[in-house]
Amino acid sequence: MISEEKILELLKGVIDPEIGLDIVSLGLVYKVEVNEDSINVTMTLTTPGCPMHGSITEWVNNILLKAEPDKNINVNLVWEPQWTPELMTDEAKEKLGM
């Protein structure tokens, strides 16, 4: 079975094209769960009400489906807890010039 670490590694392929950082480094991925027949990803976005839910969940879905075509992929978008800049990795903060 694919490990949660491996999934996080894959999700680093979902990069915000504007700032050049991936969703894992930005701290947007809250939880990854691997079951027998499914993968559940709980994640957020930097702003509530971002109307791009569709595309981002699609990107996450595409990347996981490509790696694990036999599993059900569930991407769960949550707003609690709210994202804060502190959730970013040090490397990401540095890249932004913080």
Partner: protein, 420 residues
């Protein structure tokens, strides 16, 4: 991810928005070329054939054309609804272009009869179509936000501007306005620049600047103050300009507007101060320059409404140039450097994310060229102002040449992005 929120399932096809942007950029290059070619005529008072023609190429062909395209993209996204009609957006485009060409050539030859008036009617029809398209979109909005309120107000003021514009062209054909034509022209111009254009600039900035700078944790109170103050001022302008001996009332209205713009600038400052992305890319550089210019022209405009400066040579041209180039053109160029790469990227690569390597937005155009056009344009703004002050035609030719060159590089860069 914030940067993605300028495109969504709600947004219209890229084709429509791109068409408006391309027409706007072509117009911008042409008008800069015309300025360079006719530098000898750009002097003195503003009410002259060629100056009126070029002003409308600026306000309609460049500024409004860009705003239409941007609004078709942003309104559905920001207000989470679908654009009422893509077909209407397309029809509006062609009628509007015809109207702009007609109005510009009509002013250029100062053919104030049927030619100018028919063009003004075409523009009114195009703007009416736009207003219908927007109202049709607005009525399905479930969740309103501050940007939405600014955009509703902007559409109302655009309609007033268009009607006032037609009444003015009709007055040139068959004079009927009892008050001074130029006073009425001021109403038209102020409602256009503050009510239509600046209202959009303010509303959209509250959405785009935090997105582009990744800004977090600031109060939005000032944006509400700005909204009410500017609107009260504009209602004043719309009322008192119909009367003579209105000095005090106009002054008070102008003070309201200036205070509102100050609140807006403070709001932008708050957003900017709380940004997580410290590095200033080319789009932000342009925008920062533009906001400084907005502060300067607001002060300038306020002084203008208190003190009669008409004795100073070229003073109206300096003011107009700083508004249209220093504040508005710089903002549009800067925002296009942010929006166009994203839209083109989204159009082409969104479906490929995670499946194959996709470029980053900064790889979509040559930032060095963009920086060169930034320095050309900012230098042109300063040297044009100086040329007007010292009344030097050669210096003016040189300055218009710089801006023309800057506009060419900008057009080249955007074309490259769209082709990528």
């Amino acid at each position: 991810m914030q940067s993605n929120s300028i495109a969504t399932a709600y947004a219209p096809p890229f084709k429509i928005v791109a068409k408006y942007f391309i027409a706007a950029i072509i117009d911008f290059v042409i008008l800069n070329f015309l300025l360079m070619l006719n530098y000898k005529d750009i002097t003195g008072f503003y009410f002259q054939a060629k100056i009126l023609a070029i002003t409308h190429l600026l306000t309609l062909g460049w500024i409004s054309m860009t705003i239409f395209g941007a609004m078709f993209q942003l309104v559905p996204v920001v207000l989470e609804t679908k654009l009422f009609s893509e077909k209407l957006a397309d029809i509006q485009f062609w009628i509007f272009i015809l109207g702009v060409i007609g109005l510009a050539t009509g002013f250029w030859n100062f053919d104030t009869g049927l030619h100018l008036n028919a063009s003004a009617i075409l523009l009114n029809i195009a703007i009416l179509i736009f207003a219908i398209n927007m109202i049709g979109t607005f009525i399905y909005v479930k969740k309103w936000n501050i940007t939405g309120w600014y955009l509703i107000a902007a559409v109302i003021y655009l309609t007033i501007t268009a009607v006032a514009g037609f009444l003015l062209t009709y007055n040139l054909w068959h004079p009927y306005i009892s008050i001074n034509h130029l006073q009425y022209l001021k109403l038209h111009a102020e409602v256009a620049v503050i009510g239509w254009v600046t209202m959009v600039v303010m509303g959209v900035s509250y959405k785009l600047i935090p997105m582009f700078t990744l800004s977090h944790g600031y109060s939005m109170k000032s944006s509400k103050w700005a909204f009410w103050l500017v609107n009260i001022g504009l209602v004043g302008i719309n009322t008192f300009f119909h009367f003579e001996n209105n000095m005090i009332e106009i002054l008070v209205s102008s003070l309201f507007i200036a205070a509102g713009i100050a609140f807006f600038l403070f709001q932008v400052y708050l957003i900017y101060k709380n940004r997580l992305r410290k590095k200033r890319d080319i789009g932000i550089k342009y925008s920062v320059f533009s906001f400084y210019m907005l502060a300067i022209v607001t002060l300038f405009g306020l002084v203008f409404s208190f003190i009669d400066l008409s004795g100073i040579p070229n003073i109206y041209l300096i003011f107009g140039y700083l508004v249209f180039f220093g504040y508005l053109s710089m903002l549009i160029v800067g925002q296009m450097y942010k929006i166009v790469p994203f839209l083109a990227w989204y159009h082409k690569y969104s479906s490929k994310v995670g499946l194959e390597p996709v470029p980053m937005l900064k790889d979509m155009f040559n930032e060095k060229y963009a920086l060169a056009s930034y320095y050309l344009m900012t230098t042109a703004i300063i040297t044009t102002t100086v040329s007007f002050i010292i009344n030097s035609q050669i210096a003016l030719l040189f300055s218009f040449g710089l801006m023309f060159l800057g506009s060419l590089i900008f057009a080249f860069n955007i074309t490259a992005i769209l082709r990528k």
